[in-house]
């Protein structure tokens, strides 16, 4: 009995010890792995830090080690093109490794924020509109002014793609990789059937065009806007811009505020009135809940004729109705007080506490010569070079599909030079990401459509939400 009791006791102690030690071993081994990673690299310091002088003698040495690269460019063509560039870089730079993880945009900002807060963010990652402004505040992004100088300087990048979209306060935190203009799409066959021979140049003409082709009994609608997800802002923002409404401004003390005087408020009300009429008379009732994908599929499938979008819509047309790809055309969004549009934007940011030297060197490699041209041409409808010299590259222009030839360079450059991203007319608004994700502009219009709110009430709602955001 005594021996049995002793064995039971011993077994209990061994089991308890094993259960306690195993997790500790797991923790210590992951810690030593990360120590090994950092040991194989140059010290993870940003340019111009205290150890910069110590590394002065080492600047000619190639960065080594590995980097983790999170890319939200999920389409196979551009994922492959990005991988190819990474593989080529690795081949040319022995001792390096670039591990690309592809993930969707949905939830990506949250993942990056969580990773930065946890201290294990990827060394390099793609960023969307508003990301640099949100992430820079966390203190997790590397300031990239010196890198920008090395790859051509601020003026090398188109319009506000770097100095506003990639900036936060006085620093640059994201290198623009690509931008895309918004244009209005239409179906030539629908206009022919409605005897419309002239493309609209005013808002009224655009409404008349959409109304003329709308036939709900046959499931044909002139217009749609994705109010069911955050992409609805693109259309509304384009019209606000066209009517001279900036919405947000910053004072000399760097305090952001909602900037609406009587005139601009009236202009904002006019936009909402117009959007309400356009949606009510020309869009399916369900547009209130449609996502961007839904609307693209409906345009491609021939249920909706027109929407405001980037050229990426052509991929949906290719998938859903490839025979009609020549029927889907585009024109510049009709201006009013000025040309209005928006722009899609994607950049590259570096994690401050990662392998910054290797990450920066890889970015330098990407922006060397025509390295990125094949990448842009792998998925040309969705990516236009943010760097001016690549936009003008013959290799790039010659490789573009026929449908895009009329757009590049003149129309695209014009639109991109006059457009801004959401809330960024007067500078890199830190709340741009939140402005977008909370669907503030879209919800104002939805309230008009579902709660019979007036345009004034819709603008009041937008102002109230923006003030809360400030």
């Amino acid at each position: 009995m005594k021996k049995q009791d002793f064995m039971k006791q011993l077994l209990s102690v061994i089991l308890v010890a094993a259960l306690l030690i195993v997790p500790l071993m797991g923790c210590s081994s992951s810690k030593s792995d990360s120590e090994e990673d950092s040991a194989g690299t140059e010290p993870a310091t940003s340019s111009g830090t205290e150890s910069g002088n110590e590394q002065a003698d080492e600047t000619e040495e190639q960065p080594t080690g590995s980097i983790e690269f999170w890319s939200m460019l999920t389409q196979q063509e551009r994922a492959d093109a990005l991988q190819k560039m990474a593989d080529t870089y690795v081949q040319e730079h022995p001792g390096t490794d670039i591990n690309i993880t592809v993930m969707p945009w949905s939830g990506a900002l949250d993942k990056i924020v969580a990773a930065i807060m946890a201290g294990n963010a990827p060394d390099l990652f793609t960023t969307g509109t508003g990301y640099p402004q949100t992430l820079a505040g966390t203190g997790g992004l590397l300031e990239l002014s010196e890198l920008v100088e090395e790859i051509g300087g601020k003026d090398a990048f188109l319009s506000t793609s770097l100095t506003v979209q990639g900036a936060f306060e006085d620093g640059l935190y994201s290198i623009p990789l690509y931008i895309t203009p918004y244009v209005a799409y239409y179906r030539q066959s629908w206009l022919d059937a409605a005897n419309i021979t002239k493309l609209p140049e005013t808002w009224e003409e655009y409404y008349d065009m959409c109304k003329a082709v709308t036939d709900p009994a046959n499931d044909r609608y002139g217009f749609a806007v994705p109010l069911g997800d955050l992409h609805g802002w693109k259309t509304i923002w384009s019209f606000l811009q066209a009517n001279g409404v900036d919405l947000i401004n910053v004072d000399e003390n760097s305090n952001w505020y909602v900037d609406l005087n009587d005139e601009t408020r009236a202009a904002a009300v006019e936009v909402y009135d117009y959007m309400y009429k356009l949606v009510k008379d020309c869009a399916p009732e369900g547009t209130i809940s449609y996502t961007q994908t839904n609307v693209r599929e409906m345009v491609a499938g021939g249920t909706v004729m027109s929407r405001i979008d980037t050229p990426e819509i052509y991929y949906t047309v290719q998938e859903v109705a490839p025979d009609s790809i020549d029927d889907v055309k585009y024109f510049k969004i009709p201006g009013r007080k000025k040309t209005g549009s928006g722009q899609g934007w994607v950049g590259l940011s570096v994690y401050k506490d990662g392998n910054t030297e290797l990450a920066e060197d890889f970015i330098k490699y990407l922006f060397t010569g025509d390295t990125l041209v094949d990448f842009f041409l792998s998925y040309p409808y969705a990516m236009f070079p943010a760097k001016a010299e690549l936009f003008n590259s013959e290799n790039y222009r010659e490789g573009l599909p026929d449908i895009l030839q009329p757009m590049v360079p003149d129309m695209a450059l014009y639109i991109l030079s006059t457009s801004t991203s959401l809330g960024m007319v007067n500078g890199p608004f830190p709340g741009a990401g939140e402005f977008e994700s909370r669907c503030i502009l879209g919800n104002g219009l939805v309230k008009m459509l579902t709660e019979n709110a007036t345009a004034e009430e819709a603008v009041d709602y937008v102002v109230e939400e923006l003030n809360n955001l400030m």
């Binding site: 009791d5 306690l20 949100t134 505040g137 069911g228 009732e285 249920t303 909370r438 955001l469």
Partner: protein, 303 residues
């Protein structure tokens, strides 16, 4: 002497037992209590991702949340969604369980297996299926309803706040009823068949047997299942998020979505944490009811 040896053995077994369950306690402390404690601390600060500084602000976040009408609207919607889903789940669960428990039902295993299928489908898939079924142009429901002349033109079900909430509840009922069916069926298996025979001999019809025998004896299971499901449904995030995103214009924004938006869209972690603590306290009340009922049930059984 013998008493002393017994005491010594008891004490040793008690120490051994404590050592054996201590790792589980430590894990629970690590993954349950520590995050809750940290969330509570964060709820007392102005922590924001954009400026990661934890300044103590006391209960200011809670006051801010309580002053926000969107919070109360979200709580109301959560209650509507929860109660609106739970009552039909209980009624349908009882009905289906009664059918599956019927002595004359053939192929019982087949039907019991089929009844559980909605529960096996991932919530995201359910949300997408229902979203497409009720699509205003491509949805099959409009096609069926127009064919039956119940509506004269297609309706945009998810584009209207009221109908969007109804569709959400329908989807939740469809998905959650199998769970209730299973729990009630298990409870019914424990009711002695002699009671039904006695009832039959006394001239009770099917409804009377259900109402006077099944329901009273199943009531403890119904109550406990109901409380648990209430807590689960109130915390549901995935179904409303995927199906409507909290829209149109926040008309289906339940409390978990509100908390998510506050924490991850606005990046106000302090306020987000405060909302989760408030949610936790609301649900703690229901947990207390659950444990009280469980205790009462235990006492009744011991009698």
């Amino acid at each position: 002497m013998q008493d002393k040896r017994l005491d010594h053995n008891t004490k040793r077994m008690s120490i051994e037992g404590t050592l054996l369950y201590m790792p589980a306690i430590l894990i629970i402390i690590g993954i349950v209590f520590y995050p809750m404690f940290y969330a509570f601390i964060m709820s007392l600060t102005s922590y924001s991702v954009r400026k990661p500084v934890m300044d103590f602000v006391g209960f200011a976040n809670y006051i801010e949340i309580f002053k926000d009408k969107s919070f109360w609207q979200a709580v109301w919607r959560s209650l509507l969604f929860t109660v609106g889903s739970l009552i039909p789940q209980i009624i349908l669960g009882l009905a289906i369980a009664s059918l599956l428990n019927h002595p004359r039902l053939r192929c019982k295993m087949l039907f019991r297996g089929l009844a559980i299928i909605p529960w096996l489908i991932p919530t995201v898939s359910v949300a997408i299926i229902f979203r497409w079924m009720f699509h205003d142009i491509y949805g099959i429901m409009n096609y069926i309803l127009m064919g039956l002349k119940l509506i004269d033109q297609p309706k945009a079900w998810i584009s209207n706040g009221t109908s969007a909430m109804i569709i959400l509840i329908l989807a939740n009922i469809w998905r959650g009823t199998p769970m209730m069916t299973t729990m009630f069926l298990a409870g019914m298996q424990g009711i002695p068949s002699e009671l039904y025979e006695a009832g039959h001999m006394d001239g009770a019809n099917a409804w009377e047997r259900f109402y006077k025998i099944t329901l009273p004896l199943l009531m403890p299971v119904v109550m406990i299942s109901g409380i648990l499901r209430f807590i689960w449904i109130f915390n549901y995030y995935d179904l409303p998020w995927v199906m409507t995103g909290g829209g149109p214009a926040e008309s289906t924004q339940t409390t978990p979505i509100y908390a998510y938006r506050r924490a991850f869209s606005s990046y106000k972690m302090g306020e987000g944490s405060a909302i989760t603590i408030i949610l936790f306290l609301i649900l703690i009340m229901f947990s207390i009811i659950y444990f009280s009922m469980k205790q009462r049930q235990g006492k009744n059984e011991s009698w």
